[in-house]
């Protein structure tokens, strides 16, 4: 169970997020600039909220009251960045292995196989296709065996044909992993296709919430 209850002052509005993710895929849906990425950054420990509390599987990783703010490396959060943030000077294999210890590196091949990247393991990111880059970013994030997976617009850089195929792969992977996933998107169609629950973020506030069958369980329109 992931519990997030935070607030942070941004240049044009105050971001207020209060939600839970329980071994399901929750979508944060909203327009660009609504504060979606900031929420992911706060959960992963890259940015500090002004106030509030973040719990990951019962462990408090941030609490303004108790003055707890664990660094990203102690949070166990896998993060797939928008445009993937792959290390351009390292091969696909090294992108996964660079963060792993000696024991962990033995599993690099397993992740490359699983994500269909074994043949491309010696290639640098610039020589991979859009879909391969996306899979590599996902493999890299999962290789650290995270408690929570954060995905920031992971499909936005793909063309429509590749995107459809990647949706199917993601849905299959989601069932395999059985872990909490928080996915950010600005596409309503993508949100409804991939999430168990959808949280609409508007001007920094979760304004409404749907389950996958589009039954409105929160406030707000549509």
């Amino acid at each position: 169970m992931i519990r997030v209850a935070i607030s942070k002052r941004l240049p044009h509005f105050e971001l207020r997020a209060d939600f839970e993710v329980d071994r399901s895929t929750v979508i944060l849906w909203g327009e660009s600039g609504a504060g979606k990425t900031t929420i992911l950054d706060c959960i992963s420990g890259l940015r500090r909220p002004d106030r509030g509390r973040i719990e990951l599987e019962g462990k408090t990783v941030f609490s303004s009251e108790a003055d707890i703010d664990l660094p990203p490396r102690e949070r166990g959060v896998g993060y797939v960045f928008q445009d993937y943030a792959l290390f351009p000077h390292l091969s696909a294999e090294e992108n996964i292995a660079v963060a792993l210890g000696r024991e962990g590196r033995k599993t690099t091949g397993e992740f490359l196989e699983r994500f269909g990247l074994w043949k491309q393991r010696k290639r640098r990111p610039e020589l991979l296709s859009g879909g391969e880059r996306q899979r590599l970013a996902l493999a890299r994030a999962l290789a650290i065996r995270p408690r929570l997976l954060l995905l920031d617009e992971p499909f936005s850089a793909l063309d429509s044909g590749t995107r459809e195929e990647t949706y199917r792969e993601f849905l299959a992977l989601r069932e395999d992993l059985g872990m909490s996933v928080l996915l950010v998107t600005h596409s309503r169609r993508e949100a409804e296709r991939l999430g168990h629950r959808i949280l609409e973020l508007k001007d920094g506030v979760v304004s409404s919430e749907w389950c996958r069958e589009a039954c409105c369980i929160g406030s707000g329109e549509d």
Binding site: P72, D83, P88, A157
Partner: protein, 231 residues
């Protein structure tokens, strides 16, 4: 007089000065790009000052600090260490004037790397020192190598500050520029031409090597493919 002595001494002084400056410039650049340093503008101006000051003025400042009656020199003299008119003085003078070049190149190179790559590394559990060694520094390498090459060339060509602090002592502190000056002054044109030729060849070689090292590196000019795609 054989021109080999000043040539070898120049290479020795420039190499040592470049080693010192590479470590100091990179360390300072990392410090100033990562942390908020108190009075950062003042300290940065101090580092960059030798770039705009006439070298003889820089040399005079060093002489005032490191001379037997200077605040640092007097302390060193008490420990039996005499800097002025020694090879160490030539290294210090060369390092002081080339540090601004190294610092500026490193700072621009470090600032040019995509900060989201370091963020990604943080979420993967990497420590800050490992991120610097494995991610930031390799991506900033072209700029850092350019800084090393220019620092070496600047150290090799140093004249004014070296003359003030180390003097022009043949066989001891007489580097190529000083030997060239002496040769021209006393009409030894053939010897002066050898110094000219050797300096130009070394500088060309340094520029060519640094160009080769930079060629084809992903993330050169501090950009990653993700950054180039308009992230």
């Amino acid at each position: 007089m054989s021109p080999l002595g000043p040539i070898l001494l120049s290479l020795y002084v420039a190499t040592l000065a470049t080693l010192v400056v590479s470590l100091a410039g990179l360390g300072l650049a990392r410090l100033f790009t990562r942390r908020r340093v108190t009075f950062a503008k003042f300290w940065e101006s101090l580092i960059l000052l030798p770039m705009v000051l006439p070298p003889t003025i820089t040399g005079y400042i060093l002489l005032s600090l490191l001379g037997a009656k200077g605040p640092i020199g007097s302390v060193l003299a008490g420990a039996g260490i005499r800097i002025v008119f020694s090879r160490a003085a030539a290294v210090i003078a060369a390092a002081t004037v080339s540090l601004p070049l190294m610092y500026q190149h490193c700072k621009i190179a470090l600032q040019g790397t995509d900060p989201r790559l370091a963020d990604a590394a943080r979420t993967l559990g990497m420590t800050e020192s490992r991120i610097f060694r494995k991610i930031t520094l390799p991506l900033a390498a072209p700029g850092v190598l350019g800084g090393i090459a220019l620092s070496f060339a600047r150290a090799l060509g140093e004249f004014g500050a070296t003359l003030m602090l180390a003097g022009n002592i043949p066989g001891r502190t007489q580097t190529i520029p000083l030997a060239l000056f002496s040769a021209v002054e006393s009409g030894r044109t053939a010897e002066a031409n050898i110094y000219l030729l050797v300096t130009v060849i070394i500088c060309f070689a340094v520029i060519a090597i640094s160009g080769l090292a930079q060629r084809g590196r992903p993330g050169s000019r501090g950009e990653s493919p993700t950054a180039r795609s308009g992230r």
